[in-house]
């Protein structure tokens, strides 16, 4: 089958194209264009940005806020005055959703970004030093994986007189705990990827040229795992949002009076029959949020794939598959 691979029609076509136009476009431009060509991914990006903007400016479109009780409208379905209705306590759902979305996005973004940063530093350090350092760090990492995160979350955020609880808002506490337990998988991935990159000939070539290690890491390692990092950020954001909802849902994540999507959904479970809007509205927002991130992730993966010809359904299908595989691991 070598024959088929050798004559790569895509490369030939690309070559012909380049002969005509002498402009060589930068890598980032190519990636950006590929991403824009993927309709699903762009839709995901638009929804996500829309929700983010909504969570910040949405509050200005209603006179109500999440702390004010409207004694005349208790448990009312959506109306002109309360766009999405009110809770059993008479608090405007729209105002709470805006607030909850903001907290959820905030948790997602902070955890997603910072955990990838920790993972990158930890993973690269392991790969770079190798040997004993690698072994010890790996042991620590696996021990952390073994810890049931949920219990620690519960311990850290649970009531009583714990000092932490008094000084920090529950969302910040949740962020810290999620951070501690979210970076290990990525770190392991980055470690193995950097290790295989270190074995690649172009890294060896740079070493033999006498290029200092710091520069090798910066110029050769980081750009080559860059796509992985970006993808892991979107995955991390999704994961953190899901975790927040899950924990808050069973009452151990964010605690009232703080509001988040998880708190809203969890608080409404007992009233699905009587106040259905209280349950379905925040649930829909959560789906939009995680769904849009999944769509973006898919498009990004496609755009980063160097062998991608960025057209044709088949390719996109494969990309989606690999993104699924990630999740399984």
């Amino acid at each position: 089958m070598t024959n088929l691979n050798a004559v790569d029609p895509a490369a030939v076509a690309q070559d012909a194209h380049l002969d005509n136009s002498d402009v060589v476009i930068g890598k980032s431009t190519i990636i950006f264009r590929r991403f824009l060509r993927n309709k699903t991914a762009v839709a995901g990006l638009v929804i996500f940005l829309g929700l983010t903007v909504f969570s910040f400016v949405g509050g200005y479109f209603t006179p109500w806020d999440k702390d004010t009780i409207d004694p005349f409208n208790i448990g009312m379905p959506p109306s002109a005055e309360h766009y999405l209705g009110t809770s059993q306590a008479g608090i405007d759902l729209y105002a709470m959703t805006v607030e909850g979305t903001r907290i959820s996005i905030l948790i997602g973004l902070v955890v997603g970004l910072v955990s990838v940063l920790i993972a990158a530093i930890y993973g690269c350090t392991m790969a770079y030093f190798g040997g004993k350092v690698d072994k010890v760090m790996l042991f620590f990492l696996e021990a952390l994986i073994m810890m049931p995160a949920l219990l620690v979350v519960a311990v850290a955020t649970s009531g009583g007189g714990a000092g932490l609880k008094r000084d920090l808002p529950s969302w910040l506490l949740l962020i810290i705990v999620l951070l501690v337990f979210s970076w290990m998988g990525t770190a392991r991935l980055i470690r193995s990827m950097s290790m295989s990159l270190m074995q690649r000939d172009f890294v060896k070539a740079a070493q033999y040229m006498g290029v200092p290690p710091r520069r090798i890491v910066w110029r050769h390692l980081v750009p080559n795992i860059g796509s992985l990092l970006v993808l892991d950020i979107t995955r991390g954001v999704t994961g953190a949002i899901l975790a927040e909802v899950a924990f808050s849902f069973i009452g151990i994540g964010i605690k009232v009076p703080d509001v988040s999507l998880g708190v809203l959904i969890g608080g409404a479970t007992s009233q699905v029959q009587t106040f259905p809007w209280m349950f379905w509205v925040p649930l829909t927002v959560m789906f939009l949020l995680t769904g849009s991130l999944a769509m973006m992730n898919d498009g990004l993966r496609d755009a980063f794939d160097p062998s991608s010809s960025s057209s044709g359904r088949a390719r996109r299908k494969i990309a989606r598959l690999t993104s699924g595989q990630k999740k399984a691991s």
Binding site: M1, T2, N3, L4, N5, A6, V7, P9, A10, A11, V12, A13, Q14, D15, L18, D22, V24, K27, R200, D201, F202, K204, A205, A206, Y208, M209, G210, V211, R219, H220, P223, N224, P306, S309, S311, G312, A314, R315
Partner: protein, 745 residues
């Protein structure tokens, strides 16, 4: 030499050669496999790729057809189309008849009747071609079960063991229970052959069966294929890119280019009287291991055609030095060569091209470059690299918590040699012999190494500070085997070439100027510097790699298999370039290669390594023409030569088994376990080989010369490590392929 196989459309020709056979005995229906007008198209995202465009041939029982072509020529697709193994999306037309029965258009199920039974195949990569989770015995038995459902379990086991024995696997009954990963590459390929011949096929297709293997193992596997063919009487289709491999075993040759056969005919005709410029170029592009005289190789410029477009002209015309207006007027058909029976060529000028046309003239091969150092005696040239007793031993440990040392792998064991200015020094040996470790030891260059490395006067023992190391890095650069892996995919060519220059502290302006110089030097267009590596072909990428190595003007360039990843025609261009650069820039090379013909072509001196030690070293022509060490002799005899006459008559030493693991290295001579001389020695002498380590000594001058030993001039530049270089060879390991084989009924 002639044969009964015909290639090309059968047409009656009454020639003297043909008359040797009973006229009319073979009508096309006698052919065991007959292919007519085979076309294969694939749908790709960029359009329809027309991978095979009209292949015709008839394969007679017991005969061998060699299909030769480079990657992309459609040779493998042809074989898969015959086997019915192409994906369902492939559009196949034409006719494939196996003993008169049409195979094309059969369902997958119907094809299974033939596959593995009358028609079987051996694939290229033995490492991935066996299912890792089943034992070898299971996989052989499966082939038997499919076509003989009634066969008893015991009978299958007996037959499987018999097959393993036939392909030369020792203690076959035990090995049946082994898994593929417990076998070496060569052994796995033997298993593949055993599976293929399990049901005594009428036709055996071998697709590059030895490409992934070492030369000594290649010789073994080719020998097994030969035996298999004799045992089963199968006709063989041998697909290869290596003109040497088929020269000895094929009766007929079909050369493919751009999805089409461009020349077909009896083997001698193709090799001695090629009529198509592409065939001529291919033959000229391969260096010969058996030729001392230096001539440049024939480079075929350009790239293979793009099969997305239906060619409107001769597909070779863009690369052909003889192309004229007429060549562009339409694609020439495969036409009989006037006056030569059964020889067809697809070239309008085939009549004018004959055996006496000099291919070097046609392709305008560059003149042999001469280095200014060539005239200076070696002793008077400066030393650029010196190795003194380099050792690299890896501890072999067991256990992960508490490590126990269970032995030592002596990857490199006491290596000493030097390289002078303007010289190309090569290291050859099988994989596992320590060639690459040697290179790494030189490149690593640090104080704690066992042994001394001196590069441009800087010794690793003094190189404590980074300044000394950087000075050394400017003397020595490296070119890697895989041109794709050696270039950062995210760098443009400009960035690739700028990296060593920036590191050397050059300013922007100077870097720019130097990069333009380098691009010209290696024959690339300077305005391509903004491209990414994946926009270049393999040969061009290797040129970029060479340019990068030359950027800082090193004295010595280390070449690690620089052409083994390239196609034959491209390879010639890179070799010529290396030759030219050495002469023009006064470079020295340290070359590691498994292809001895390439080594012979460009080196001045050579060292043969076996299990971490040099067994023979010296001037390249001396070592290759008068090898003294039995291993060197075996290695050289294993290399197929693209010359059917030579191949048919020459004696071949087939080494038994694989390279032993360095762990089991014997106390005395490392090579004793596989040595053909040792095997034939009387026990007393064997004892010496087993217990004493032979030193590396100069070739003993004759008695007369010994008397004159005072004069150092007479000592030839050749040293070897063997006690009994003149010993008889064990007959079992000798194979002489005589012509009788080819005429056996």
């Amino acid at each position: 030499m002639s044969s009964e196989t015909t290639t090309g459309p059968a047409e009656p020709t009454g020639s003297p050669v043909e008359r040797l056979h009973v006229a009319g005995l073979h009508s096309p229906t006698d052919a065991v496999l007959s292919v007519r007008d085979l076309h294969v198209r694939f749908n790709s995202e960029n359009g329809v790729v027309h991978a095979v465009r009209g292949v015709d041939f008839d394969l007679m029982p017991g005969k061998t057809l060699g299909i030769v072509g480079e990657s992309g020529s459609g040779k493998s697709v042809t074989s898969l189309a015959i086997m019915g193994l192409l994906p369902g999306t492939a559009d196949i037309s034409g006719s494939v008849r196996l003993r008169g029965r049409e195979l094309l258009g059969l369902s997958d199920k119907a094809m299974c009747e033939y596959r593995g039974n009358e028609l079987s195949m051996v694939f290229q990569d033995p490492l991935s071609s066996l299912t890792p989770v089943y034992t070898v015995g299971t996989q052989i038995s499966e082939a038997l079960t499919i076509h003989n459902p009634t066969m008893s379990r015991h009978a299958k086991e007996v037959r499987a063991a018999e097959l393993l024995a036939m392909v030369g696997i020792p203690s076959p009954n035990d090995r049946l229970k082994a898994f593929p990963h417990e076998f070496s590459g060569g052994m796995r390929q033997r298993v593949m052959i055993a599976i293929a011949i399990a049901n005594n096929p009428r036709v055996l297709i071998a697709d590059e069966p030895t490409t992934a293997l070492d030369v000594t193992i290649q010789a073994q596997v080719l020998e097994v294929l030969h035996t298999a063919q004799e045992e089963t009487g199968a006709a063989v289709v041998m697909i290869t890119h290596d003109l040497g491999v088929v020269a000895g075993m094929a009766d007929d040759i079909m050369v493919m280019y751009g999805g089409k056969p461009v020349e077909t005919g009896p083997v001698d005709e193709i090799y001695y009287n090629p009529r198509m410029p592409y065939t001529m170029g291919l033959l000229g592009a391969v260096p010969r291991v058996d030729a001392a005289e230096k001539s440049s190789l024939v480079p075929i410029e350009g790239m293979p055609p793009n099969l997305l477009h239906e060619p409107t002209a001769c597909s070779f015309a863009p690369r052909c030095p003889l192309a004229s207006e007429a060549c562009l007027a339409g694609e020439p058909a495969l036409a009989p060569v006037p006056g030569v029976p059964r020889h067809h060529a697809a070239c309008i000028k085939s009549e004018a091209l004959g055996g006496d046309v000099d291919v070097l003239d046609i392709f305008a091969a560059p003149p042999v470059p001469a280095s200014r150092f060539d005239a200076i005696p070696r002793d008077e040239r400066a030393t650029v690299l010196q190795l003194k007793d380099i050792r690299k031993h890896f501890p072999l440990t067991k256990g992960s918590l508490l490590k126990r040392r269970i032995g030592t792998v002596k990857a490199v064991d006491g290596l000493s040699f030097d390289i002078r200015e303007g010289e190309c020094f090569s290291i050859v040996g099988e994989s596992g012999s320590g060639k690459t470790t040697t290179l790494l030891e030189i490149m690593e260059f640090h104080k704690d190494q066992d042994g001394e490395v001196v590069i441009g006067g800087i010794s690793n023992k003094q190189a404590a500070d980074s300044r000394a190391r950087n000075a050394m890095r400017r003397e020595l650069q490296m070119v890697f085997q895989d041109p794709t892996g050696a270039l950062d995919p995210r760098f443009t060519v400009y960035e690739v070439l700028a990296e060593p220059l920036q590191n050397a502290g050059m300013d922007r302006q100077a870097i720019r100027k130097r990069i333009m110089e380098l691009m010209k030097l290696v024959g690339l267009q300077p305005d391509h510097v903004n491209r990414f590596p994946n926009q270049f072909s393999g040969g061009q990428r290797q040129r970029i790699g060479i340019a990068r190595a030359l950027a800082v003007n090193p004295k010595l360039v280390v070449l690690d298999e620089p052409v083994s990843a390239l196609d034959v025609s491209v390879q010639a261009g890179v070799i010529n370039l290396l030759d030219k650069l050495r002469a023009e820039l006064g470079l020295s090379y340290l070359l590691v290669a498994h292809d001895l013909s390439v080594v012979r072509h460009i080196s001045n001196r050579v060292a043969v390594m076996y299990l971490g030690k040099i067994v023979e070293i010296g001037e390249v022509d001396r070592v290759f023409d008068q090898p003294r060490h039995p291993y060197t002799r075996a290695l050289l005899s294993a290399i197929p030569v693209p010359d059917p006459q030579v191949e048919r008559t020459r004696e071949r030493i087939i080494l038994k088994g694989d390279l032993p693991s360095p762990l089991d290295a014997p106390k005395g001579c490392n090579f004793a376990t596989r040595c053909p001389v040792y095997a034939a020695l009387p026990p007393a002498k064997q004892e010496k080989c087993r217990t004493l380590e032979p030193p590396l000594e100069a070739v003993a001058p004759s008695a007369a010369a010994r008397a004159l030993e005072a004069g150092p001039v007479s000592v030839p530049d050749q040293r070897f490590a063997c006690f009994f270089p003149d010993g008889e060879l064990e007959e079992d390991m000798l194979v002489v392929q005589d012509q009788a084989d080819h005429h056996a009924p």
